[in-house]
Point group: C2
Chain length 345, copies 2
């Protein structure tokens, strides 16, 4: 066995252990043989921090499938101790932090997790959009100064390539604007209201489907969409903005009659996320409730589908659509980011 | 000036000098400062082979903008001598062959150009889909055995990422099928026939718009689409097929009434390119004339737009659309491939 053929252990610190991270562990467990044989990688978990189920630490590291077993079956490991996130990260001995704690206004906690990871020699994969929406330039500089890497494909369109598309597939080009439909809860609510449901009923249905959070105000008032716009504008357009500077429409107060009257005109309401580099080289960004005509590429984006239209100087107009994104797609973004970091091309 | 900051000369052999390659030269001329300052690259042309205007050779290499001048203004250089392609390539001293000769059945000439380039130590960028459609596995092996590289982003959807998307943005995933609308001439013809034009009139209009070739049979009979299907199937699905094994519908014989009757049913005819890995691990591929319903993502693809729907095991359903592709987009594919080859990430 030559050294080029040796299997490399990559150790993970999982901060946040919700549905996405659990599904990610299943994907890794399903593909451990392919990871070893084809990519010469073995993924091991040395630390897990959960919101309410305590922490797990293991200095050697255990396979992600074993983490799931311990989590679901009460195998000793998640012992109820809540180790502080920064302690967990800095003592994890891991190569990568997978940050998936809940998004909060300002992104403060997640930003501190990323800084701690970079200080401790870890690369970072985040599915929490806070650090990119609120402090991308700062995070990028912080990572670069410590020769660490930061990836975040899953923060906007689940597993559908957005940031990697721009970074790896549009070299030498310049994106000048984008326009997209990126929030499932409002998609779902607007469609349900078209059949006569009130906003509250629609949100209730979305919650029952697992689409909306228990507190839906974040989606309804456009905060989630604004964070996505800020992240996209920061990364794709080189803006240095926060969600607070993104103009924002709320669908609160919208009635089924409002929705129906737009439909009677042959159009459909959608929450549209957009930003553009202006002629004076600034970035204008907004989340707006728009009645779309049938020939608009965003008209057909419903439920958990999402779409983004990029305008680039040389590549022209490129549209990317994720049709019916589910948990697996978001979890794949983490898996994809890991391979981007550790597989030689 | 440290060596890392030195500007690297990359020498090009341009085989074929039609609209795409000329536009590529304009793009490089427009961006020579950015290429030098940001990417530390200087592109120089050491050889050009045209179909009817003779050849140009220059051992030191001249900027692409100067090649255009010599071509358009009769500055000495294109001297009417037709140097044999393989001689031109092997004596070019270039780093990269840009192959853009016309597609021919079997791809024989282009394949020999690629083999000659790899034998002579050149990497290859091809916008001629022949080698990928007819002999991808052979070309890939041939290049790898000589430590050379082969790129071909422009052969299917102009400058819209397809092959780079699959290679760089879907690591660890497996594409199981695709379905797309990829031929502008038939798009254009089917739309013109919907307004009452005959196929011949429609093709005449497409030729006047610069969309259809002077011999449109290649498009009308589905050969161009079949070559695209074979290329996509070979690269994305790991098939080892040729265009001859792609089932193929022709629009020859279609009348305006045929087109109108589909429209009266609320549908629209499109030439659909598709392939899938079957349950016995073979690849079934076809070009078929299909009446699409309005809720089909391919329904809206008209004129020079194109679209591809990928089905992947983990990333799910991803659609990519190039809206209104023009010459600049295809030329950008060559530029993009060059940066993929020579810019460090």
């Amino acid at each position: 066995v030559t050294s080029a053929n040796e299997i490399r252990n990559v150790k993970l610190c999982l901060l946040g252990f919700g549905h996405v991270t659990q599904r990610f562990c299943e994907i890794v467990a399903d593909r451990s043989q392919e990871l070893a044989e084809r990519h010469r990688l073995r993924l091991l978990v040395t630390a897990v921090g959960t919101g309410r189920h305590g922490s797990l630490t293991h200095s050697v590291g255990i396979p992600p499938g074993s983490v799931l077993e311990r989590f679901h079956e009460g195998v000793p490991g998640f012992d109820g101790r809540q180790i502080a996130a920064t302690t967990l990260i800095s003592e994890s001995g891991a190569d990568v932090l997978v940050e998936s704690t809940p998004l909060e206004h300002g992104g403060t906690a997640a930003i501190s997790h990323l800084e701690c990871a970079f200080d401790s020699g870890l690369d970072v994969i985040t599915v929490n959009k806070g650090p990119i929406a609120w402090a991308y330039e700062r995070m990028r500089t912080y990572a670069r100064e410590r020769s660490r890497r930061l990836r975040f494909e899953g923060i906007t369109m689940d597993g559908c390539p957005v940031y990697n598309l721009a970074e790896f597939c549009l070299p030498g080009d310049r994106i000048t604007s984008f326009r997209g439909v990126l929030n499932s809860t409002t998609n779902y609510a607007l469609d349900a209201m078209a059949t006569g449901a009130s906003l509250d009923q629609a949100i209730g249905e979305a919650q029952a489907q697992g689409i909306a959070e228990s507190d839906p105000s974040h989606d309804v008032e456009g905060h989630d969409a604004a964070a996505k716009v800020a992240a996209l504008a920061n990364v794709l357009l080189g803006a240095d903005i926060t969600p607070d500077s993104v103009g924002r429409d709320s669908i609160r107060g919208l009635t089924p009659d409002d929705v129906s009257s737009v439909i009677s005109e042959g159009r459909r309401l959608r929450v549209v996320c957009s930003a553009a580099i202006t002629h004076d080289n600034r970035v204008a960004a907004q989340v707006s409730l728009e009645p779309l005509t049938r020939d608009d590429p965003l008209y057909s984006i419903s439920g958990t589908s999402s779409a983004l239209i990029l305008q680039a100087e040389l590549a022209g107009t490129i549209e990317i659509v994720e049709r019916d994104g589910l948990l697996t797609q978001t979890a794949y973004a983490v898996y994809s980011d890991l391979l981007t970091l550790f597989v030689q091309r």
